[in-house]
Symmetry: C2
Subunit: 100 residues, 2 copies
């Protein structure tokens, strides 16, 4: 991890909603209803549920998720028309170690 990468990650985390998304995704089954066309959270949570829980507009949350994936905090998996997002634990650990 270098300075620039760490700064980009920090930018993603410097917003209350985005920080909460990281929290929510730590325990998807506690924070979201079950998915309709899939019976697990192995690939995370679909964008619509995150949008609904956030109380912000769809476009804003979609942008959040896209950027959080770009900087590596989240991993996105497509299942049909749904985009599932989950935490990238490896990168989060790297970032945490980088700060220490």
């Amino acid at each position: 991890m270098d300075v620039k990468e760490a700064v980009e990650i920090s930018k993603c985390l410097s917003n209350q909603t985005r920080m909460q998304i990281m929290e929510w995704l730590r325990e998807p089954e506690k924070n979201f209803p079950p998915h309709i066309s899939i019976d697990h959270f192995d690939d995370g949570v679909c964008a619509t549920y995150i949008h609904e829980k956030s109380k912000l507009s769809q476009s804003t949350v979609s942008n959040y998720l896209t950027n959080m994936e770009k900087c590596g905090l989240l991993v996105m998996t497509k299942h049909g028309k749904w985009s599932y997002y989950k935490r990238n634990e490896a990168l989060i650990t790297d970032f945490a170690k980088y700060l220490l």
Copy 2:
């Protein structure tokens, strides 16, 4: 550590210079010359040295340091007319754990 606190910390870290200050202060003796009126780095590094190394204006760096102290990332100690800043390792550890 709650969401708001973590967001404030992230804001401080979401800038290349500020992130580097955190790095520099991890090993003061490697990154800064010895102090004039004190022979150790126990309380960190004086603001002037950090300012000089940063290549930004004095007022900008002073603001950085003040904010980084406010959010808890740094601890400031006054010695005469000098302000020494060091990392607050306990808070950094808390933040890192919060993310995991």
